[in-house]
Symmetry: C2
Subunit: 324 residues, 2 copies
């Protein structure tokens, strides 16, 4: 008779089964040991990042399906790798679950996790599990980038032009719609709900900008432009001026609301980056079907200002801050 498996080992077995045979390449030892062994490619630096994804804070069990919880938990952390111009390689999953979620919920979660792991080419390398009344997730992603090619937040210089990818505010609008609609969201929900549930980190764009030395500074938009742009400016020791009319907003009847969504909406995971004026011509208006929009420029004056209907005002953070 096989020895009886304990609760924690059953959860670990489910995870191992879901990812059986997926280890390869630079990941020499994955799950099952005290730690994972991984080696960056020759001439590459490792990029290290981690992200909370907590029930009640970052998602709701009755609104976010298990596969979207999996997708989003990995995509969020991977977006930080994209923002450095790097390539995701492997991740560690820390999962705390209520006993009631170790059956069907866990299976759907793992199916989603396998899918996002393949989509982002980011292998499961290990993690930690425990029991908890609420679902707690922490994801560490390890990526790589050619030595000295990573794009930091601190490289923006006075006169650089500011760009963002995609359309801003879509994920926030998706969250509003998800809260309004009945029951759990899913992939047949509308495009905004889908962007909220299954965000796509801009990995290819980040790599292209880094490889071609086009971005002087870069970060991903997770908390909203009004929270994130001041962080980029602060790290670079500069300010910025942007114009509301130039923002890539959602095309809606209420233009003012669309601007508010673009300025303050969180969870878009688009890239915000600065480009030398002389390189502006190399930034086409799009990259592989993804819009790239010039929204303003970097200034010596350290304030971050937005011009709306002819009036300049200081851009104040209206995005996501859990401690507010």
């Amino acid at each position: 008779m096989a020895p009886r498996l304990s609760g924690e080992e059953k959860v670990v077995c489910e995870i191992k089964r879901a990812f059986a045979g997926q280890r390869s390449g630079s990941l020499r030892v994955g799950m099952g040991d005290d730690a994972a062994l991984w080696r960056a490619g020759p001439g590459q630096e490792a990029i290290l990042t981690c992200d909370w994804f907590l029930e009640g804070t970052h998602f709701l069990r009755d609104k976010h399906p298990p596969d979207a919880v999996a997708w989003k938990s990995l995509a969020r952390a991977t977006s930080d790798i994209a923002a450095m111009g790097g390539m995701p390689k492997c991740f560690l999953l820390s999962l705390a679950l209520p006993a009631s979620c170790t059956g069907k919920w866990l299976r759907f979660f793992l199916r989603g996790l396998r899918r996002v792991s393949r989509a982002l080419q980011c292998q499961l390398a290990g993690g930690d599990t425990t029991r908890r009344d609420e679902i707690l997730i922490n994801t560490t992603v390890v990526g790589e980038v050619a030595a000295a090619r990573a794009v930091l937040r601190s490289g923006a210089r006075v006169g650089d032009l500011l760009y963002v990818s995609g359309t801003l505010g879509e994920a926030e609008l998706g969250l509003r719609e998800l809260r309004r609609q009945r029951g759990v969201g899913n992939e047949s929900s509308n495009v905004f709900v889908r962007k909220h549930l299954y965000p796509e980190p801009r990995i290819a764009l980040g790599q292209w900008l880094a490889k071609n030395h086009l971005a002087t500074a870069m970060m991903d938009l997770s908390d909203g432009l009004s929270s994130d742009l001041p962080r980029l400016c602060s790290e670079s020791g500069v300010g910025a001026q942007i114009t509301a009319a130039s923002l890539p907003c959602i095309a809606r009847r209420d233009a003012k609301d669309a601007v508010e969504l673009a300025l303050h909406g969180g969870d878009d995971y688009e890239l915000l980056f600065a480009v030398r004026r002389k390189n502006a011509s190399k930034i086409a208006t799009g990259f592989r079907g993804l819009a790239l929009t010039r929204i303003g420029e970097i200034t010596r004056d350290k304030r971050v200002l937005v011009e709306q209907e002819g009036r300049w005002r200081r851009l104040t953070s209206g995005g996501w801050d859990p401690f507010r």
Copy 2:
């Protein structure tokens, strides 16, 4: 006037201030960017591990002082690096805090974190913060080890001898005493409470065993010998026989209780390792003042058995399993 700091930024500022000027060596970019940049030394592999440390599950706010919470959260994860024979290099801290803990509690926590970071020579590289009703911690530690020198759980062979470092059961006894005593534990508590609050990962021992090819398999004892030894055997595809009389127990009047503590007590973070019989003479009875004790051997029969007072019985897990 400086722009008003948001709650999350204040917490991040406190952390940055506590670790100001500590970045050096292989860590090129630390806190403040989307992610950290780190490079393993030439010929080294990266070791990746993460660990939960959650209020109510792994520690109690009214029993564990903030600096012990910091110490233990990093020491636990670093113990996994020791168990591979590696050297800790840097860590990511994910911290979720109640608003009431962002003042004095956070300052004491950060003081402890700086101390353990120095003691273990493991630099803070980044992390994530958020607000939560309970204190949640997840720690990712990155270490390095010479390529192909890491000691895995899977290398034990039939006939190898089994060893453990230190004395087993001390941390569990310390937890019992901490629960019994009034108020918060501290460094002037007795030796067992101290071992529970401030465990010391066996980094030097692990490196010595790996460097000299002495351990064929190794892991750290976090959940207790009765939970952990079967895991090492399972990964190696072998069994084991140990004798209760050989265990390095706490010297107490009640010998039976001491054996139970040694078999099932968790949180010791001692090393369990297997050694080829021909190398037994190279394992002295101690390493730099730390006892090394032979407790049994690896068997072809895949059961894990313990002999106590002349009778053999199957060793069943009595250690820590959060899902039980």
